[in-house]
């Protein structure tokens, strides 16, 4: 874990409201694992608003070039400020933080299940699994083709790539859960599933994985301050213990069986 002034090499809108940010930080790139995240200061040094750093998962990492990239949705103050950075600027970046995905030791098929910008942490994982020789089935959902974040690296890493849009403008017409139900034969052959998206989507995907009998891991979100386990601001409930768990250090990736997710949209 380090803090550094990481140079921006790219900060581009890839779909309306979604940006790809690529930074140079060889130290972070060397250590970053899929599912881990960084805390970024979204304003220039001395501004106090927005104040706190914002957590973003590693979208992809190229160790040879020492580059780390993030895929972010413009939500509020912080992410809006982040869009202003241009190549040559530096972003105060802290990472790698948290506990990432446990990649299956076997070469069996794995499922990547992503809703919306939830795809962000799964691209690096899919690439790593692909390089390792796993069969990768990817299920990606979004409202419409305008927000379907079918990253070229993800498509390349996927043995089979299934897309779903609510309005049917690309791929299967329906939500990602309906798509998964349709493709349960693929899902059931997987040795593990990796899930990230809105909570109701993750909740439905977790119970589907349980139904077909495969283990799964989910990446959770929470408001964060310190990112290192010191402030206890980011906690969530798990079935692991009666105590709260810190999303920033015990997570953000948890075993699907131990998280307690909100099923309400």
């Amino acid at each position: 874990m380090i803090t550094c002034q990481a140079k921006v090499i790219l900060n581009r809108e890839v779909k309306p409201g979604y940006y790809l940010l690529r930074l140079v930080s060889p130290e972070i790139a060397r250590k970053a694992l899929p599912g881990q995240f960084a805390l970024l200061r979204c304003s220039t040094k001395d501004l106090t608003d927005p104040l706190l750093r914002r957590p973003l998962s590693f979208h992809n990492v190229t160790k040879e070039q020492g580059e780390i990239s993030f895929l972010y949705q413009v939500k509020g103050k912080g992410t809006k400020e982040l869009t202003r950075f241009v190549p040559g600027d530096t972003v105060d970046t802290m990472g790698p933080l948290g506990k990432g995905f446990q990649l299956e030791p076997t070469k069996g098929p794995i499922a990547i299940i992503a809703g919306g910008v939830g795809v962000a942490p799964l691209v690096y994982l899919a690439c790593m699994a692909h390089d390792k020789g796993n069969t990768v089935y990817t299920f990606l959902g979004a409202r419409s083709t305008e927000s379907l974040l079918a990253d070229p690296d993800l498509v390349r890493a996927s043995t089979r790539f299934f897309a779903a849009t609510d309005d049917g403008t690309e791929g299967f017409c329906g939500n990602i859960i309906e798509l998964l139900h349709k493709e349960t034969n693929h899902l059931a052959t997987c040795t593990a599933a990796y899930i990230c998206g809105p909570e109701p989507v993750m909740a439905a995907a977790v119970s589907l994985c349980a139904k077909v009998g495969i283990p799964c891991q989910v990446s959770l979100e929470s408001t964060m301050a310190c990112g290192v386990g010191a402030c206890l601001g980011c906690t969530c409930r798990t079935t692991r213990s009666h105590n709260y768990s810190r999303v920033c250090t015990e997570g953000p990736v948890f075993d699907g069986r131990e998280v307690i997710l909100d099923e309400k949209p």
Binding site: M1, P50, C231
Partner: protein, 305 residues
Amino acid sequence: MKNPSLKVALCGLSLRTPIMTASGTFGYGLEYHPLVDFADLGAVVVKGTTLEPWLGNRPPRILETPSGMLNAIGLENCGVEAFIHDKLPKLTPYDLPIVVNIAGRTVDEYPQVIEHLEKAQGIAAYELNISCPNVRQGGMAFGTDPETAASVTRAAKAIASRPVIVKLSPNVTDITAIAQAVEAAGADAISLVNTFVGMAIDIHKRRPVLGNKIGGLSGPCIRPLAVRMVWQVAQAVRVPVIGMGGIDSWQSALEFILAGADAVGIGTAFFVNPGIARDINQGLLDYMQKEGIDSISQLVGAAWK
């Protein structure tokens, strides 16, 4: 001129710099390691510790606000026994005074926590968090009534062999009255301020954002309020004062020192810049060098005149 010195003596503790951590923002000391070099700190104040483990409040527990943040952690902690066995031994090997922040639900719980801590080695001082609600008095915070604040202080002092710092709540009409009451009850030092009570409403859900509904406001937005309180308290008592509330630069640390603080606490700023203690020390040293001041203590309360 010889090198200026940041050394501070504070109720029997000798600090290499006036920069301390603010309780609850720095965990049990090691979470930020190695991002924060302990050589940059005068003392570490650990998370509030209670007699039994506390679960804490339901999430969401934090929210950013303009130039600040609200928190309602609810004093989640592992309890004093687990603290002594699991947390403290990891921190004592470092050359750094350790201050244990203590909280309770009743007046009696404070000396009970201290009773356990008295058996442990490597603690430099206790800090009493009197901002928590007193269940025997309908949930009113101990620190909002001079008599209750004094009785917590007396109960702690009666059993503590180590210095007792009392941390004041700013959510009062006259903070100097509370400060004088705890001084008269034997407090060895006073720290202030804890967070200001606040809240925020989610306009979409039409509900309070925080799980606990109300929370404590910290960060740069409270700084002028905190400086005013430190200014008044430091002039009203003889014991040393630890000032805090929104410090995020050497300039703002100096502001508290000039207002009368012997040392300062850094909280929210660690979240933004883990290197803040180093930056403040460097800034203070450069300033002193330039101004020809050889000890930081010469600046304490220098704005009073």
